[in-house]
């Protein structure tokens, strides 16, 4: 007879000294864990509820300007640096970490309309309705200290005066050119007081400009004649023009896929285009109920932020038809400019109520140092949420957002209008000769024509 029974000595399975860690034994046998799938589902449900509980995206407001914020730009050399310009001609450099103004750039007589900084972060370019362009040397040392509350002021390094008001400015990536827009598109060099090149196509005002991050000589502008125009600095004339049904307020290139850009449109939608194929949008991002004023991509290129005239900030996936997040507060007024922070973890919005606001890019993300065990827990929660995201309960909780009443009502109204339009179109189609009426997809419907 051979016999053996299980016998465990206590010493073998417990710790020796009280300073030791408790010993952990694993047995992954599924039969020891009955109903594991149900448990996992409950965990997914709890994780998605926890996300809701911890969704506190608002971090703080930067108070200092005395008029509406009209434009912002990141400081490429400093993660915590941000320039903002306001309607009264004030420009400030903010330290986002301490939420204080580091220095001011006085000089503009009217509203500051455009701000941009060179890629090395040394030179700040501003332009405004007083028809002047000002170049400033950014004080590096004062940003480093940033502890004393004494605000320094900086004098402009050079001032160039044009004939007409300027509406926007953008600096070339990795070069020394920058472009201003207004009555026409001017290309400037840091060292020259006159534009080195000027483009014109049509007579209307150009309102925004953005250089391509991948191809330094390519830039896109939008004009108040509802057009989006692409330029190449190496050529004498603009490359391509596309006219939409409504005006495009702002443009942003996707930094990871520099052939694609997204246009923030007056009709409340954003349109992602492939620059090589402008007859059809790649994606229409709907959800805003009023004009989208500004747009900025995350450095990851996977998401972008929009600020709208409906007093909200929304975050979209680069390929998502609807927003994944909406930020609003009772005090925030019309949002005129938004920016992603350089590390993609914060969003900054500037609005009519003279404040800049800092938001988390992921509403329920835990800030601060995360211990490895916490990190593991977060990862696990992400995994189970992803696994059960198709189930109605999980999906419903994850998708739900509380909306301010005016926006809720406006979106309901817009839905009714869209439905009515659709119904009418369907009826018209049904009562016409087959093939005589074709419905365009929304991706194409808002485009009037493309001009070479």
């Amino acid at each position: 007879m051979k016999v053996k029974v299980i016998s465990r000595s206590v010493d073998e399975f417990t710790r020796e000294r009280s300073q030791d860690l408790q010993r952990v034994f694993r047995n992954y046998d599924p039969s020891l864990r009955p109903q594991e799938k149900a448990v996992e589902y409950v965990r997914a449900l709890n994780a998605v509820k926890l996300d809701k509980i911890f969704a506190r995206p608002f971090i703080g407001a930067l108070d200092g300007h005395i008029d509406a914020i009209s434009c912002m730009t990141k400081n490429p050399s400093q993660l915590k640096g941000l320039f903002s310009g306001s309607m009264d001609g004030d420009i400030r450099l903010w330290d986002l970490a301490s939420r204080q103004t580091v220095c001011q750039f006085p000089g503009h007589q009217g509203a500051v309309r455009g701000l941009t900084s060179s890629t090395d972060g040394r030179v700040l370019v501003s332009c405004g309705t007083d028809a002047s362009i000002r170049l400033w040397n950014v004080p590096i040392t004062s940003l480093m200290e940033s502890d004393d509350s004494t605000k320094s002021t900086v004098e402009p390094a050079s001032v160039y005066v044009g004939k007409n008001a300027f509406w926007g400015v953008d600096h070339q990536w990795d070069g020394e050119h920058f472009a201003t827009v207004g009555a026409q598109v001017d290309i400037w060099n840091h060292n020259r007081s006159q534009p080195i090149n000027s483009f014109e196509w049509g007579t209307d005002t150009v309102i925004s400009v953005r250089f391509n991050p991948g191809e330094p000589n390519l830039l896109a502008t939008s004009a108040s004649d509802r057009s989006i125009i692409l330029y190449d600095l190496r050529m004498a004339s603009p490359v391509r023009k596309m006219i939409m049904m409504t005006k495009t307020n702002s443009i942003c290139w996707n930094p990871m896929e520099p052939i694609n850009f997204t246009a923030a449109n007056e009709d409340g939608n954003c349109y992602s285009y492939d620059a090589r194929k402008l007859n059809e949008a790649k994606c229409v991002h709907k959800d805003h109920v009023s004009a989208v004023m500004d747009i900025d991509y995350s450095p990851t290129g996977r998401e972008f932020v929009t600020g709208s005239y409906d007093r909200t900030v929304r975050l979209f996936q680069y390929n998502g038809g609807h927003s994944k997040e909406i930020y609003h507060t009772k005090r925030m007024q019309r949002v005129f400019c938004v920016k992603f922070s350089g590390d993609g973890s914060y969003v900054i919005s500037g609005s009519d109520d003279t404040n800049l606001r800092i938001w988390k890019a992921k509403a329920s993300e835990q800030l601060g140092v995360i211990l490895p065990r916490e990190r593991k827990k977060h990862d696990y929660h992400e995994a189970v949420k992803k696994r059960y995201k198709h189930l109605s309960d999980v999906n419903r909780i994850a998708r739900h957002r509380h909306l301010p009443r005016p926006i809720f009502k406006a979106s309901a109204l817009m839905r009714v209008m869209a439905d009515a339009k659709k119904r009418k179109e369907d009826k018209r189609k049904a009562h016409s000769a087959p093939g005589s009426i074709t419905t365009q997809p929304l991706r194409r419907r808002r485009i009037i024509k493309e001009v070479e």
């Binding site: 206590v10 046998d29 149900a38």
Partner: protein, 533 residues
């Protein structure tokens, strides 16, 4: 006779080649793969196919990692009992086993004689560390099984019919003469559950934190022990019973009744999920295998039956009485009757149970309850003269998981685990016959095929043909009239099917017209209609 069970079918001696190693791993992996992988060949959506393929690969990897961990990292090996020569395992006495095994093992074999307060019933915590005993005459005790010390005993001075641990050893419930009570480990009465009435049997659903009771009036109640709410309260309507067992696989409570039926219940429906006739005569005991597919029932008709719960069919019928049944973690089945205890084993892995060990108590002892101690090769016996414990090699799972049930748990670990299990508490709706349905999407209903439709009509026609017509008054029973009536009945049955068919055909033809005719809708009414075929 070799000791073979599912895991031991693997080669024990060192694998000689790499192929053997991979084969062995593959065998072990099967358990961790949790079923077959999805058939991706039929999918047309390329993106979905790619995503699913990546996922399947991940599943495979994790199963392989688990199999490797099982092969190399498990600290202990399972027990076994092998007969040599002409020996038979069931002839081997407990004394000889105690003689052969190590000292700590032989210490687990003992009898506690308490003749006045019996018969006793037992329950173990899920880790097997603590045991609750309940004597019929009011004696309740908690015993620490590792150092065999009595933690607490109390005398409630009324009948105790059942004791059961709640989620950990700090709380237990006792079914007493008029009401069930909840006590803590110190023996302090925490709750008197008056709504339950005179309860005969208690069960605790660990994942759901539900205390299920069946009382003298045949009422089945579920109470949530965390919030105290009564989750379910059903009249079984099949009379008094004290045979009740939870299926650990899905949380379904089964009751055995005096009419020979077994009913299965969930807390969210007032009617039983399953009602099956198992015995000709009262059901005396019930037990579930932890894999959820196997149920053992014992009846007063001197039969012990093993059921396949996927098909609700008998797998095996064994002769013999049993007052109490229990499955061990490794699938051994113990049956107790009178003073005789039999342990059956599934030798070949084909769910064909045969005799493994027997043990007879001192004559006159009546076995009341058999419970295998989890993670140990020990069978606890509650009987009329106290309680005993015997060694059954190969009964328990040799390796515990610290995060699931840890016999060497410290109080801090216990506290943490309590919080974690409470966070993972399952809602009562997750109790269902097939728990793998949770987390899946309901598939779209299939349309019946033409053949199925025809078969349905035929079945309906056959059913009406088989009906006998009533005898009518004189003159209405003529053969001609009878035939007419029968034909009418058949036509009446066929009619709804035919109408449905016509409707469908019309729909199809309308669709065809829509696509074929080029006229706009407003002019369609002027178009000449074709004769429908």
């Amino acid at each position: 006779m070799g000791d073979i069970e599912e895991n031991d079918a693997l080669p024990k001696n060192k694998p000689s080649t790499e192929k053997d190693v991979s084969d062995e791993l593959e065998l072990r992996m099967k358990k961790y793969l949790r079923g077959e992988s999805a058939n991706l060949e039929v999918l047309k959506d390329k993106k979905l196919k790619g995503q699913l393929a990546a996922k399947e690969q991940l599943y495979g990897k994790s199963a392989q990692a688990a199999a490797k961990a099982e092969k190399w990292l498990m600290p202990s090996e399972g027990g076994y009992l092998e007969a040599e020569g002409l020996e038979k395992t069931w002839r081997i006495k407990q004394e000889t086993i105690a003689h052969e095994v190590d000292i700590s093992g032989s210490r687990k074999q003992y009898d506690i004689i308490l003749p006045e307060l019996g018969p006793y019933t037992l329950d173990f915590t899920s880790s097997g560390r603590y045991m609750a005993v309940g004597g019929r005459k009011g004696h309740i005790g908690i015993v620490d099984m590792i150092n065999l010390s009595l933690i607490r005993e109390l005398q409630v001075r009324e009948t105790v019919r059942d004791v059961v641990f709640l989620h950990n050893e700090l709380f237990f419930a006792a079914a007493q003469k008029r009401y069930p009570y909840i006590y803590n480990r110190e023996g302090t009465e925490l709750h008197c559950l008056k709504e339950h009435g005179p309860v005969l049997r208690l069960q605790f659903l660990k994942n759901h934190f539900l205390l299920a009771t069946i009382n003298k009036f045949g009422q089945l109640r579920y109470q949530d022990v965390t919030m105290g709410s009564m989750v379910g309260n059903f009249r079984t309507g099949v009379g008094r019973t004290n045979v009740m067992q939870v299926n650990p696989f899905n949380g379904v409570v089964s009751l055995g009744h005096s009419a020979g039926t077994v009913t299965m219940w969930k807390p969210t429906s007032s009617a039983p999920l399953v009602k099956m006739l198992c015995h000709h005569g009262p059901v005396s005991a019930l037990a579930f295998h932890s894999n959820g597919h196997l149920m053992a029932t014992a009846g007063k008709d001197k039969k012990v039956k093993l059921w396949d719960l996927r098909k609700y069919e008998v797998l095996q019928t064994l002769p013999g009485h049993a007052n109490t049944l229990d499955f061990s973690q490794k699938g051994l089945l113990s049956c107790g009757n009178g003073s005789l205890i039999q342990v059956l084993r599934d030798v070949s892995g084909t769910q064909n149970y045969s005799r493994y060990m027997t043990h007879s108590m001192v004559k006159g002892y009546q076995v009341e309850k058999l419970v295998f101690r989890p993670y140990e090769d020990v069978l606890g016996i509650g009987h009329s003269m106290g309680w005993s414990s015997i060694l059954i090699p190969g009964a328990g799972e040799p390796n515990f998981d610290s995060w699931v049930a840890n016999p060497f748990e410290t109080s801090k670990q216990r506290r943490e685990k309590e919080i974690r299990t409470l966070l993972d508490k399952l809602p009562p709706e997750t109790i269902m016959l097939d728990p793998s349905k949770i987390g899946t999407v309901k598939p779209k209903g299939k349309r019946p095929t033409k053949k199925e439709k025809e078969a349905e009509i035929e079945a309906a026609v056959e059913a009406t043909k088989g009906k006998k017509l009533k005898k009518k008054t004189k003159g209405r029973n003529k053969p001609g009239k009878m035939i007419q009536k029968k034909q009418d009945a058949i036509a009446r049955v066929k009619r709804p099917y035919m109408e449905q068919k016509i409707q469908e055909e019309e729909n199809v033809s309308r669709k065809k017209q829509k696509t074929s005719v080029e006229l706009p809708k407003s002019l369609q009414r002027f178009a000449r209609k074709k004769a429908s075929s």
